[in-house]
Amino acid sequence: MSFESALATLIVHSDGETQHLQVDVGTCVRDALDTTAIRVRAACGGTGSCGACVIKYLSGAVNPATLAEYQKLSASERQEGLRLACQIRVVGDTEWLLEHPAHVSSWKSIAPEDLIPVEGQLPELQHFIYGLAVDLGTTHIRISLWNRKTGQRIANRSGFNPQSVFGADVLNRLNAALLTDNRSLEMAQLARQAVLEALRDILARDIGEVSPMLKEIGSVIIAGNTAMLALLSLNGANQLLNPDNWQQPIDCLPLGHDTWQSEWNLPNAKIKLEPALAGFVGSDLTADIIGTRLTEAAGASLLVDIGTNTELALWDGHRLLVTSVPGGPAFEGVGIRNGMSAEPGAIYRVERLDDGHSLKLSTLGAATARGFCGSGLIDMIAILLESGTLKPSGRFSQNPGPDGFLAEAENPKTAVTPGDVDALQRAKAAIATAMETLLTNSGLTWESIERLCVCGTFGRHLNIRHAQAIGLLPSLNNDKIELYANATLAGCEKALLSDGISLFDHYAALTQVINLSYVPGYDDLYINNLRLRPIEMHSVINT
């Protein structure tokens, strides 16, 4: 059922730490490490020209030294087992020692299989041919640098939004920013600095020059949810707390553009903050629509971007109905006793073994389990439901007591409590009800949906069958459900490659915003959807 690609284990020791990575045979060692916290030093894009990515062979099967390595490493160095990480391809299980790692950075590369290939109508360019795409998320910031002339993605980075210290959800963030002008400036600068830092990391490691390259960047496209845009630009945050403003676009474009340009040291770049669609419907949703090509299918298509603030778009063939719903934080671990984001040690998958009751937990980085990220929690609850340990009402058939239900004996970090189940029920009900409301509003039923694009938090780890069993996703045929890890970034990238026409404005003009707070009956449906059971697929549409 799964594709049989040969896997090998790559083990790397550095500074007393060890990374165990499961990689496809043929994977480049530098690329594999770039997705982790232990990175090799680098100053070229892995072309073998800088010689910085030195790493020491311990054992295992890899390709022989390349020409570049003969040029950059002396015979005695090669004798010692030194190699250039960017030149090594994994052939079988192999083990390495990285004596001089790059300084620790919070910026990591996104795994290539998590990226959406992007093509565009390449702009005619003579100067400033580089472009930067920025997905400014509440939890993560993701950027990628492009050569707009050749349509080539040079590199990308993903890291945490440093504003998180001021609150996990958008409202806490807005409240913090509105406290004082200084605080909002501080928060704006945190995000701006983070983007710059990620960009410098790319330039230093993947091109080898920083300052001269900054001048060559001609375009920056930034998308994000409304609150993130407002916090970045220092404009619009106060309007966001007033419900009267939620139905229409909120002006959160930067007031002083030039100051920003000099802050980022990008003298030649056109910086574009893509405008939000409404109060809590940001341009990240527009980017998702572009990135997933939502409007290109013949039939109706539904997109849901599950995050701290979940956003939805329904394409009915003519227009895009969009809305937002606050169902996300639970899936990012907020309010869950052992909840955590997708970091090393997070249980991202739970399976029931053939014996019918023992559980197999998979953690990120194959580390000791430290808690559940969203996809792991959904697996866990679906399995408990399947085995009858949980009732559809969300109650445990036998009270697990104050320690909760342990997925792994003697590891309290694998406990699930009744309170966690309640939090998950509330979150999934809010999202399911939002989907149903969009369908009802356009007179559609689930049967007419050709594509369901699921973006955001879960990436590609989500077990669709489990998400269906608890009623988070509808029971559509599997071939209609598409999981995307980086749709927002892809949307920005596509816009970067289509100079001239603004893709964002084009799609914004097709949207119609629905505010769920004003939808009569939302709350009744919501209560109905709290039950852990598949979404009702044949619901009658009342007109």
Binding site: K391, G394, I527
Partner: protein, 222 residues
Amino acid sequence: MLDDIINHYNEAVFDTDKEAAFEVIDNALAEGYTPEDIIFKVVIPAINEMMAIITKDPDANLAQHFMTAQIASEVTEKMLLQFKSPPEIVGRVVIGTAVGDLHSLGKRIVSGCLKAMMVEIIDLGVNVAAERFVDEAIAHDAQVIAISAMMVHSATGENGCRKVRKLLNEQGLESRIKIAVGGAPFRFDPELYKTVGADAWAADGISAAKTIVDLIHEVNAK
């Protein structure tokens, strides 16, 4: 006998099974209990019982709270129609969500439980201005203003509960009208109700009903 009815009714409610709950009530009526008995000897004691259960098992989930309230208020409404003489009202409460807040569920649950406890509810809806809370409380001679707020800024903002307190104070109404608050932010910080100037708060709809009835008695005792 009555204990059995209460137990069965509570079991059904706890399992969020509305049909089963109504079946218990119908059977009780068939056995000769009057609508008055149902309210005063089953529904109200059942809510009290439920409160005890929830104190012991704080993990009762949202669906259960909602169903408790929904079933109790539906049963009450049905029974009230059959009362021989109009029931005696414990008191009056104006309820609504704080200004800027459109989350209506907390208010619905609290109202449902209060109705079942024979409290008259004046529902002001969502996004209610402080002035309106006070004006309506005066107009209806209510003993309590109940404010539900699900978001931090609507719970703590200058125009929410704080302003209601200020208005009551300016108009010398503080001994006649009490303020109860509730909603997610108050559950995270049990001292928050004091900071925003409320007289009481409750963590769930069922205890809210008791807290509010206590406030009514406090005002009426004066």
